[in-house]
Structures are given as structure tokens and as C-alpha cells.
Amino acid sequence: MKRFDYYTPHSLAECVEILKSSKQAVPIAGGTDLIPKMKRTDRQADTLVSLRQLQELEGISRNGSLVIGAATRLSYILGQAEEAQVPAGLIDAIGFIGSRQIRNIATLGGNLCNAAPSADAAPPLLALDAHAVIANPSGERRIPLHSFFQAPGQTALMSGELLKQVELPRVGPNAGSCYLRHTPRERMDLAVVGVGVSLEVEQGAISSARIALGAVSPTPLLAEDAASELIGQQLTMEVLSNVAARAVDACSPIDDIRASAAYRRHLVMLLVKRATAVAYERAVASSGGEV
């Protein structure tokens, strides 16, 4: 790698000032996406700003919402899944990312800020109605996660801005979520298609639902028409087929080295049905089977 200047700020304020001072200043959390890019010289950075001293960017807390610091390591989130009541769909997704070694240094914020269309954390977070909290020299701003992704590899972060944390609204006991993906290899691969579903069930019928798709459009995508087909419905094969067909309509996959667009549409059909069914079962199970 080429040489760079390197800072380890001790406060978020100091960090955003450094980021603002140079167009080529880049924050580094885990670095599992950034370092390979810099080795390939895909990414030029004359200044790296390490986030490792910024405790306010790490950890999981609850204040009504579930708040996950952007620099929280993936393995930490997995380890806290039960205690912090992290939704199952997000845990599914994080478990798919890389390997143990990668998850021990990679962060949730890094997966989002890398903004690959196939980012595994994106579909479940979109389905869970997450918001991104962004720090900048003037303070903070908060946007819905679907506004965060703007193009492949591009986020809404402006110069001097840093993703601070992700916030998830509280989920009730009758809620369930799931993330499924397809990869050619069992592990250590990029999603060819990813599907995140979150829903709530009352008296056997779905009272709210969100479906999000990854790797089938330039950015991770909310399939709103598909999700609306679930509202008020019991889960039957017919309902699932209908919802899946709507999801296929919403996506715009491409042919690439991993899969053809046609195969991706087929996978969307399959995985939307399966993920919805799993999310439904989880919702019923978590409410004590009474709905």
C-alpha cells in the first residue's frame, strides 16, 4: 500500500474535523473492505482516520430504540444477540458475512458505508425500518436507512461526515424477521441475492410487513408493493406466491459474473417466500404461539 498519514482521534468532534480537512481523508473501522481496496489501489487515501479510540461509536444500547454504534464489531453483535435482543434477521445477515476472522474486526457501519448493492446488513436493517445517525462538524443528522444508499459504493455521507450509529425501532413480542441469501459457495462469498423480511402477526394475520432486497438493484431496495400484499393476510402458498411475484417486479437485477438477471429473479421468488415464512414462524413463536 502507498504511504498515508494516520490519526487516532479521541473524540468524535476531533474525528469529523480531520475528515473535513482533506477530501482524501477516509475513516477506518475494521478495514476489511478498505484495506483490500487500497492494496488494489482502487481507493486512494492520503489520510486514514482510525476510529478505534472512539468509544461512542461502539456498543449496543436501548433507549426505546435499539442503538448499535457504527464501529461495533460484527462478532460483538453476534455475541450480544440474545442479551441485547438484536432482531433475528440482522443476526442471520451478520452470521453470513465473511468468516470469524473478518467478523472479529469488521463493523456494522463498515458494511453499510461500503455500500455494495449486496451488503448483507442492508436488507434486514431496511426491513426493520432502521435509521442512520450521521455525525458532522455541525452536530448530527438522522435519515431513514433507505436514503443512506445512493449508488453502488456511494452513500449520503458528505465531506466531513461519519456514520455514528444505526437505530432500530422497538419490536413487539409478536414480531419476527429473517434474512436469507444465495451464494455459490457456502461461506466467504458475496450475496447473489439477499432478502430481508420483518413482520408482525396478530391473530394469525400479518399486521405489518417490510421486505427488502439486496444485490438486485444499484442499491439495497425496499419492496413496498410486495410487502403491502401481506397486510391483513394469513400466510398461504397463494399469498406467498403473490408477494414474491411483486418483489420480482420491483427489482432490476443485472447479468454479471456471479449470476444472470433471470437467475436472480428466480432467487428473489424463492427467497422472498422462504424468508417471509421464516419471519412469520418466528413472530408466532416469539408471541408464545398465541397468535
Binding site: 498515508f4 478495514g31 476489511t32 492494496k39 486514514l48 472479529n104
Partner: protein, 158 residues
């Protein structure tokens, strides 16, 4: 040259170095410290041959800037058998025939050590998940899994 001080514990010993920030931990270990047990297989965090433990957790040293281990404890394969006495995991790998060319082995052994430190009786699936980031082109993995199970079994009798 723009260097910074790096102070960390390596295989139980405190070390202070002056390093340029663009150097990875793998480069420092192999090129500066002569610890060539840690291998570079891909340089991109995909193969796990460069696995070392930082604070008891397996990481890919080819992806980690050396500066990021400041204040932390690092264990390389050399640190497992400091006085020549093989670690039980190393013995299990040999006894089970879990290595051929040996290139993936330091990384496999350290990933195994990290696994057994956090989960003393892992299931086969847990073993395969824990080793998913360590690629082997020789063995087909089955004997590696057996070695991990043997090491776990032996440890349970201690």
C-alpha cells in the same frame, strides 16, 4: 519518514517499535520481526493463512494495520510452543494427519485455539463454521475437523 510508536505484547513479551502506519501486522511480523510462521496466502483476508490471535480472537493479519494492535496482546504460531513443547492442538493435527504441505496449518491451528478457548466442546458444524475462514488445498478438511475434535476431547480429560 512518518513513523509512530507501537507498543504491544507479542507472544507474552512487551515490544516497542517505530513503524510507518501503512504497514500491516503481517508485514511487521514477517519482514521486521522474522516471525515467518504466519503466512501470506492471498493478502485480501480470504484464505486465513495469515491468521493470528489479537486479544484471543482470530483475525487476518494481512488486513490489520500494525498500528491498530497498539496496547493489545498478539499471539502468533511461534507463541504456541515457545519452549519447543508442542501445544495439544498442534499434537492433535500431527497425530490425525491434518496437514500435508503445512501452509494453511499455522492459521488453522490458531483458529482452532481461539475456538476451543471460547467453546470447549464444539459440534462439527461449529468447528466448520469457526474454520470457514481458513482455506486448505491439500487435506479436504475432514482430518482437520477430526484433529479439532481430538484436541477438544483431550482437553476435556485434563
Amino acid at each position: 519518514m512518518n513513523t509512530r510508536a507501537l507498543s504491544f505484547v507479542l507472544n507474552g513479551r512487551h515490544l516497542k517499535l517505530d513503524i510507518e502506519p501503512h504497514r500491516t501486522l503481517l508485514e511487521i511480523l514477517r519482514d521486521d520481526l522474522g516471525l515467518i510462521g504466519t503466512k501470506e496466502g492471498c493478502g485480501t483476508g480470504d484464505c486465513g493463512a495469515c491468521t493470528v490471535l489479537v486479544e484471543d480472537e482470530a483475525i487476518c493479519s494481512c488486513l490489520l494495520l500494525a498500528a491498530e494492535v497498539d496496547g493489545k496482546a498478539v499471539l502468533t504460531i511461534e507463541g504456541l510452543a515457545p519452549d519447543g513443547q508442542l501445544h495439544p492442538v498442534q499434537r492433535a493435527f500431527i497425530e490425525c494427519g491434518a496437514l500435508q504441505c503445512g501452509f494453511c496449518t499455522p492459521g488453522m491451528v490458531l483458529s482452532t485455539v481461539a475456538l476451543l478457548r471460547r467453546s470447549s466442546q464444539p459440534t462439527e458444524q461449529e468447528i466448520r463454521d469457526a474454520l470457514a475462514g481458513n482455506l486448505c488445498r491439500c487435506t479436504g478438511y475432514d482430518k482437520i475437523v477430526l484433529a479439532v475434535q481430538a484436541a477438544a476431547q483431550e482437553a476435556s480429560h485434563v
